[in-house]
Amino acid sequence: MAKKMPKTDVVVVGVGWGGGIIASELTKQGLNVVGLERGQERHTEDYYMVHDELRYAVRYELMQDLSKETLSFRSNEKMRALPMRQYGSFLMGSGLGGAGVHWNGQTFRFLPYDFNIKSATIERYGKNKIPAGMTIQDWGITYDEIEPYYDKFEKMAGISGEENPLGGKRSDKYPTKPMKHSEQMKMFKKATENLKYHPYTVPSANLSEAYENPDGIKRSACQYCGFCERFGCEYGAKADPVVTVIPVANKTGKFDLRTHSWVRKVLHNGDKATGVLYTDVTTGEEIEQPADVVVLTSYVFNNARLLLNSKVGRPYDPSTGKGVIGKNYAYQVVKGAATGYFDDQKFNNFAGAGALGMVIDDFNGDNFDHSDLDFIHGGYLSLTQTGQRPIQNNPIPSDSPTWGKEFKQNSLKYINKTLSVGAMGASMPFQHHYLDLDPTYKDTFGDPIVRMTFDFEEQDRKLAKFTAKKASGILKEMGADKIDAMEELGPYNITTYQSTHNTGGVIMGADSETSAVNNYLQMWDMENLFVVGASAFPHNGGYNPTDTVGALAYRAAEGIMKYSKNGGMLA
């Protein structure tokens, strides 16, 4: 028999960006919130030894412990799904702040096109432009409707930037000035201007200057130390939930944060959630937390898994396309990139920041004509300088040996003489890309893990070739003496790192038949259950997802306040 805790107004499951924002917004307005986080507590002072590439970047210190929970993967339904036994393609966060601690801080808004992608594509190119099996759909919210929430997230996090000349309309400028421009960024800017593109500085959650946000949180400026992705920031310069929203929630006295609390089920009675069941991982004790409102704010995979394991919502059926939980899993197409070798120049490649870079959107969304192209959408092209640490960065020309004397000499020679132009290719959903429960493999408590069925499609292969070619063109204009560019995308491979931009599974929309949550991220099938995160994206745009996750979390917080006053479906 599980121990029963006193009822609370709201329980959030997972305390990263989603849980942190929900908790701070609701507690400020007087609601009592219990935050359940299965990992440990974290503070900036934990990072005195953070400049350790081996421990953090190679051994994944901040990531979810795969021995306790992983997911299984297959390329298609004919293949046997097998567990992801070691990290590769993407890195799930764990502990207070979640993936919001080890992110790079690149904070882009999606384009207006993204939110009504299906109608906009049909309007401009006709419905035959959408290939069979591609399940794009409008988001049930427009860019103009989501814009105020983007603004709110950017002001809370102190995003440093300048306006995207090809982006959606902004109600206000970024709260802090753009990051400094390094030599390589200046070269990218000049080259892309020569090519008549529209460069701008990557919007950054690594603060360009000291900043105090509207909640009174004060943070210091980025030191360009080169340890952002996979690391926590010891200066608190990089916005993460631990240094921004969680202290705000704590200060209200209305936030009850419980770490080491592993939520296993959403409890429900009829069409209402009644609370959650969790295990205290330090004692093994099972605990029931009743609540008026349950908010799932875990990572993409766990949001979907919790619903499926709790038998909430209609599971997706890939053979009919009906059902919604697990539908439209999407990822990112980042391999369409190029590296340039510069014989006569040397760069400070060891220095940098997670979101230091220049970018163009000339080939993103529908900013360019797709009439003669056999793919839709696109991606941004950028030069980012995140700090090249030595174990993971040994750039050598593609035709040279990978070990031995020549490898050593090339890797030493080129480390500070190479620059890369990367692409953040959008990922379109397909009917047979989805998440469900694995029939064989279990987590540490015996609950089924998530099974992912996903592969790259023709759309992705064409898109990647296109962006690789454009990336080469920019490097050529920058004066590279030799350029290596991706030639063929190949199949999706879970063993090589690409991006931790997993999306979908509990998608939003205007129609309860085709989406799981409405535009307040309230479940159509259970009105006091909200599911917050990139799990709500019906497709993945050509950008890093965090700004949109943050904006949707603010939107959901507003919805939960409305719901707790008046009840009922909000949309």
């Binding site: 002072e45 990072y47 005195y48 030894m49 400049h51 350790d52 590439e53 081996l54 190679v58 051994r59 994944y60 412990d65 795969l66 021995s67 992983t70 993967f73 297959r74 390329s75 293949m79 046997r80 097998l82 567990p83 036994r85 070691q86 590769g88 400094k180 030599e183 000291a210 004060k218 943070r219 210091s220 400026a221 030191q223 360009y224 130390c225 010891e234 200066y235 608190g236 240094v243 040397k346 400070n348 060891f350 220095a351 940098g352 640490r389 030595p390 174990i391 070990w403 031995g404 050593k408 000499q409 030493l412 480390i415 500070n416 064989t440 279990k442 199949p491 999706y492 879970i494 063993t495």
Partner: protein
């Protein structure tokens, strides 16, 4: 060491300490701690106590004459150690740029890593059932890294004896390269481990030993970093981020103690 050399070294240490003190002050200023007038937490608060008299001398240069007591074995036998030392040296050999894997202590690094959580795959999903997977699904074996090394090194020794009638560590560099190539390209038939899987693991652990912080027993004296102008653990690059390439002497995490 004679007296003159000692006093020169002391002067150098003082100079170094002074430079560090100044650069820390500049760091505090640049970070906005002083100029922004904001009271902030995190490491910035901790920067001030570091800037004390305790740090007048640099422990890294001062102690370089003492014995490195971490150079002993936790996992390998002496023979296994010799093989790993020889094999990693072929992957990252000594040349005119500087030391190779052997001199950098890479074999000690690998030994120590295999004895710990990485060698035991403590944070990997190791639950059954085990099935042969597709390449895109990643490692699906039941063996842990420590066991893979033990089995593969034995196989490599057998292969070496069969092919050249000598143990691997006693082969010429060319012969060692030939054997490693056969492993890397799966030209050896082994029953229980993948030859290329082992080679890839050996290669990645060699690079880790060359370039990880010296606290892990490799990258001796930070020479792995020095060869490629990697400055290691610096507080800030605010001053150089907008400028031309700059060589900066490396620092290790020992600096934070």
């Amino acid at each position: 060491m004679d007296k003159e050399v000692i006093s020169l070294a002391d002067d150098k240490n003082k100079e170094q300490a002074e430079r560090e003190r100044l650069s820390r002050r500049r760091f505090i200023k640049n970070s906005g701690y002083a100029v922004g007038g904001l009271a902030v937490g995190g490491v910035l608060g901790g920067v001030i106590p570091w800037d004390t008299d305790e740090k007048k001398t640099n422990p890294q240069t001062k102690n370089n004459k003492t014995t490195n007591f971490t150079h002993a074995l936790m996992n390998f036998s002496q023979n296994e150690f010799k093989m790993v030392e020889a094999a990693s040296e072929r992957i990252f050999p000594k040349d005119e740029n500087g030391p190779g894997a052997k001199e950098l202590g890479v074999a000690y690094y690998i030994d120590h890593q295999l004895a710990g959580s990485y060698g035991l795959n403590a944070r990997d999903y190791m639950q059954p059932p085990f099935f042969h997977g597709e390449k895109v699904q990643g490692y699906q074996g039941r063996l842990r890294r420590k066991e893979i090394f033990r089995i593969a090194l034995k196989e490599m020794q057998n292969y070496s004896q069969k092919k050249y009638k000598k143990s691997f560590a006693n082969l010429s560099a060319e012969e060692q390269d030939a054997i490693l190539t056969d492993f890397a390209e799966d030209k050896v038939n082994l029953m229980t481990v993948s030859p290329s899987g082992f080679f890839d693991l050996l290669r990645s652990m060699t690079l880790e030993g060359v370039y990880s912080d010296p606290l892990y027993s490799g990258n001796k004296d930070m020479d792995g970093w020095r060869m490629r102008n990697f400055p290691g653990n610096q507080m800030s690059y605010s001053d150089i981020i907008t400028g031309d390439f700059k060589e900066i002497p490396p620092k290790s995490l020992r600096e934070h103690m």
